[in-house]
């Protein structure tokens, strides 16, 4: 798991990188009010071009920028994962509604249960989960968090150690998949399963 202090420093450098790119775009006649975000594919293409042209100094710089961008995306996905669990901990349905992608292809597999598909039914299942049966806030400790991002998809896997006051739910493994939609990360899959111990 990346250090968040390190991510902060990287974000500052990435911001400069973005601003530099916007300025360079303006010089080429791109309107300044247009959002210019450097994407991985563009950098990847630039990298291949630099290598082909044997411009290894430029290639090394692009490779660094690519790494920064990927670390930046990882931090953003981890932050979305944190928002998801905070909503769960508090039983905060408004926050829960806003973190799910409003799409038909989203789904949820709660421990021991089948698949619940589509935004409306998924949110319905969280209404039950966040209902009167449990006392909020829940205690949910996350352990062994791993994150991986490819383009506009990121996935997090972690061990959920969940406890309600005075009782124990035990441990669950979770796979959470996130999609970047209009620059923002939303959860689209939550698959949690009990660990037999």
């Amino acid at each position: 798991m990346p250090s968040f202090a390190a991510c902060g420093a990287q974000n500052s450098r990435l911001l400069s990188l973005r601003l530099a790119q916007v300025k360079s775009g303006e010089a080429e006649g791109i309107p300044s009010n247009e959002s210019v975000i450097i994407d991985e594919e563009t950098l990847q293409r630039d990298l291949e071009k630099a290598i082909k042209e044997e411009d290894y100094v430029r290639a090394a710089k692009i490779r660094d920028d690519l790494r920064l961008l990927q670390e930046d995306s990882k931090a953003a996905v981890l932050s979305a994962n944190t928002r998801f669990y905070n909503a769960f901990r508090k039983g905060d349905l408004v926050a829960m509604n806003s973190i799910w992608a409003k799409e038909d292809h989203v789904y949820c597999i709660h421990p021991g249960a089948g698949r619940i598909s589509g935004y409306d039914l998924v949110i319905g299942s969280w209404e039950i989960m966040c209902g009167a049966e449990h006392e909020f806030p829940l205690q949910i400790d996350l352990q062994n968090i791993e994150v991986h991002v490819i383009g506009d998809v990121g996935y997090v896997t972690c061990l959920e150690v969940v406890k309600t006051r005075g009782s124990s739910w035990g441990k669950q493994m979770a796979t959470n998949v996130f999609e970047r939609i209009n620059g923002q990360w939303f959860i689209c899959i939550h698959h949690a399963s009990h660990i037999n111990m």
Copy 2:
């Protein structure tokens, strides 16, 4: 789930589309031996450009091509999912090794178990799964298959109804995530969990 006959017809049209693009590329001085694959982002950009220029005839055509490309990717991901389950059914470790992405970030969560991460350990877990404990071929029926693709990531969710000869393992929900690496789809997550019934 899309009809495979429909996918076949779509693939033929997509092939023509690719060839047309290669020819158009050649005319612009791109070497003919270079592999030119139309990607979603390029089409998406072309679509936005066409809409901006109010060329709605071209926009409609690009939108159709985009849909075809997405359907084509779905068929390729479903085919990778089939290869994964065929390897599992037969206990074919050679096939199982070749379908997993050879990366550190791949992982497997077998029913009731924790996370096994990294290619070597994941393959090690399949060596145990495909070992002497079960009689192969296994009977694994897949139901309610759903597939979604975004760029180079595709995910399949399905209900696994698994039976060994004479006994029953019951039902599991599976989330399988695939990545496209150098044009080929590999599995990078298999998360399966028992359904309590």
